[in-house]
Amino acid sequence: MNQNSDNTVANPLASLNDRKGGFDPAMANRMMSSIGHSGFVGMEYVGHGSDWVELAFDWRDDLVADPDSGIIASSAVISLLDNACSLSIWTKLDRFRPQVTMDLRLDYLRPSPSGARVFGRGICYHMTHNIGFVRGIAHNGDMDDPLAHASGTFIRVGNILS
């Protein structure tokens, strides 16, 4: 599989497996969101359960799709749910394992309005040896008033696949 062929750069998240007390999604998000695209979007840990993780980011004028309305770019919501769903798999597994997003679908139910904080909850509802099956919900603080629904799969990568 091509996406696995160059897995030479160690993922710092692997160091979380050396810690006692199981997988810590808050610390994992701190590591993921201190740099890179997740840092640009500004993803913060909100909470987690046995099979879910919720992250959020604050509205910012460089994250919008339309400067007149101020609605958030759909792509920022994808990034948020991608991370939350990925974290939900490690949380359910209680361990980090290298994986990549295989596919992700989002249904945009309504725009995320100007100024509103965006929350994204990822839920791992099933896991096999190689695949994590996830759902996601994005909202502005009320889960019963979602702005987007997601579903997707992540595939395990790296030498442990063989």
Binding site: N2, I35, D103
Partner: protein
């Protein structure tokens, strides 16, 4: 450059640029930078998805403009397939319109890097088209 589509703030923040093509949908580029990186050494899937969405939107606006329309559009959904890890280099994306109807558009987009034949990700999207709000419609 005349006819260059204006990109949303999110796309500009990631330094995306759209280049018009002869007889084809615009090609949108995204340079590598820390702000588009995901796991070490690779692009973030969300950044690739953003590039695909911007390319799809550019393709629809381009097609509508060729019909003499500036109707606003609204994205309904997107499905993204990630086929290869995105390397830390310039990434390209282009949209393809399968059907541009009166009320909706079926669009896909694909992204590549140094080799256009090696697609790193592709997406399928549905968009609503608000023809009633087309200021150029007669």
């Amino acid at each position: 450059m005349t006819g260059m589509p204006s990109l949303p703030p999110y796309a500009l923040a990631l330094d995306m640029q759209a280049e018009m093509q002869d007889g084809e949908a615009p090609v949108v580029t995204m340079p590598f930078a820390s702000k588009v990186q995901g796991r070490p050494g690779f692009l973030h899937g969300g950044a690739i998805s953003g590039l695909l969405e911007i390319a799809a939107v550019a393709a629809i606006h381009d097609a509508l403009r060729k019909q003499g329309s500036d109707a606003p559009i609204k994205q309904v959904n997107v499905t993204i397939d990630f086929m290869r890890g995105g390397k830390p280099e310039l990434t390209y994306a282009q949209g393809t319109i399968t059907r541009l109807g009166r009320t909706m558009a079926n669009v896909s987009a694909h992204a590549w890097q140094d080799d256009p034949d090696r697609i790193i990700a592709q997406a399928h999207m549905h968009y609503l088209i608000s023809r009633s709000r087309d200021r150029k419609a007669v």
